[in-house]
């Protein structure tokens, strides 16, 4: 009696497991379905937004949509702009943030507490409050339509707080003291001891920054008044209303291209990325 009861409970738990697995698979499918749709349409010849089993089987597959995108000088320029401004922001943000986080964590200089609190407070400031003044300030410095106009405002407190939360355990004080006894200069200490230890969290920040800047719409819209600065995200945002509006395959191909860089980055650095989000969620 007892035996059958235990057995049936185990069977029940297997059934629950299967049901849960099916639910999870369905939600995962919903998560990627729009991307599958995008990919399928981008590889098809005809111009309709329809997607059916029948179409998947009978459609002619081609790379023409992608070729059409890359044939245009403007499109290559969008990719160039996005790449430059994104890498620029990544480098500056990682460098500047790790420097500041290092000072806050290990220097304990006069006023560092107050400053750190101020950094924390700026996290509460919503982006729309700074949007108009950012435009005016950049205009004053004649910096509209420069890569700096998008890259520099991105370097907020987030990176500093993220690296700071990692610094306590990630960079032991003993190591710094040892380096000091060896006669390391401050700069050497930072570049040779601190930065290598911060590698994983810096990679996390780099991915965050990359995805943020690459996909940013509002800032480029505001600070790029000339069309030759247009980023790929801006370009892709405008396509539905331009003359290419019904070339669905072509539009999807452009979306695929805009999606690929963050996606590829994720494929390679998945672990750091997930760790970075977990860190930002649990520690700050």
């Amino acid at each position: 009696m007892a035996k059958t009861k235990r057995l049936s409970r185990r069977e029940g738990s297997t059934a629950v497991r299967v049901i849960l697995a099916v639910v999870l698979i369905i939600s995962a499918f919903i998560s990627i379905f729009p991307f599958l749709y995008m990919l399928a349409l981008s590889l098809m010849e005809t111009s309709t937004m329809k997607l059916s089993w029948e179409r998947l089987v009978t459609a002619k597959y081609t790379l023409d949509n992608f070729k059409m995108a890359f044939k245009q000088g403007a499109f290559l320029n969008y990719i160039k702009n996005s790449t430059i401004v994104t890498l620029y922001a990544v480098v500056v943000n990682c460098l500047v943030s790790s420097m500041a986080a290092y000072a806050f964590s290990k220097k304990k200089f006069f006023g560092s507490r107050t400053m750190y609190t101020l950094y924390l407070a700026t996290m509460m400031v919503p982006g729309q409050v700074t949007l108009i003044p950012t435009f005016l300030i950049l205009n004053k410095f004649s910096m509209l339509n420069t890569y700096s106009a998008v890259a520099l405002p991105t370097c907020g407190a987030f990176g500093v707080l993220l690296i700071y939360s990692f610094m306590k355990q990630g960079v032991p004080d003993e190591l710094l003291e040892a380096a000091e006894l060896d006669g390391c200069s401050e700069i050497r200490k930072f570049t040779r001891v601190v930065l290598p230890l911060l590698k994983s969290v810096i990679i996390s920040l780099a991915i965050f920054t990359f995805i943020n800047v690459w996909g940013n719409l509002v800032l480029p819209l505001v600070v790029y008044t000339e069309s030759d600065m247009t980023t790929i995200t801006q370009a892709v945002a405008n396509m539905k209303t331009s003359h290419t509006a019904t070339k669905y395959g072509y539009i999807m191909a452009c979306n695929v291209i805009a999606f690929l860089p963050p996606f590829i980055l994720y494929l390679f650095l998945q672990k750091q990325f997930v760790e970075g989000i977990a860190l930002s969620g649990t520690k700050t």
Partner: protein
Amino acid sequence: MKTNINKKRRRRNNLWGYTFTAPSAILLFVFIVLPIFISVALSLTDFSGFNEPTYVGFKNYVDMFKDKKFLASMKNTFIYVLTTVPLQTILSLVVAAILAEKFQNAFGEFIRGTMFIPVLCSAVIAGNLFFYLFASDKNAVINSMLMLFGLDKVNWLGKSDTAMLVICMVAVWKNVGYFLVIFYAAIMDVPKSLHEAARIDGASPMQRFFNITMPSIRPVLYLVITLSTIWAFQVFDITMVMTKGGPGTATMSPVLLVYNYAFTDHRMGYASAIACILAVVIFVISMLQKLVFKEED
């Protein structure tokens, strides 16, 4: 003598501290701190972006409450918050709990990895994709599915109520993977011994979830709710790409409104006032949430 050396050391330490913080602090000052003050100052003026700002007192703040577009955008935001925040919090929490309880294996990792993909794409791409999926055309994916079941096609983005619904769905679809990762990490941080002890006492998975997991991840729950509320107030890309705030003002979001007023209508003073009010509202809501979470402790 010794104190002299100490003093020198401290001064050196301070100097390097400032040097290392300076680049970041300057950027933070120029692009966040200074803009806050400018925003507040501008909000009290009439300023087109070209003229000299003229002081008008609190006129902009008074006008706001007679502005149908602004009121609509605030109403939309509250609908949006009330829809997306509970949905994405509960969905991501439930999935994270199921994964941590039953699927700490390759399958679970695959599910997490897959559900994270929407986080990678920009809101612009997400908006684009759902724009076509939910197009009014009978060939669009969602409508053709409806018609397969013998239902009528729906003009999703052309009608007020469904347009808002679609926009909320896009946000939930895009954010769940992010919060899933946060919740999953938090749940995995809960000491295993607690669960073991409860299991021996015969607690069901449900009981363990509500009595052990939930209390342990409170701070993370607070973070997720606050974060998704703040994000809800900052919707821009999705509405810009999918509906431009329409039909009418049905999906107008406050940030889109700020953008339109400042850079299309050249009413920067008025737009600044809206931005400031938004900041205050966001601040108050985060504080209230903090209070609620503190109270229950």
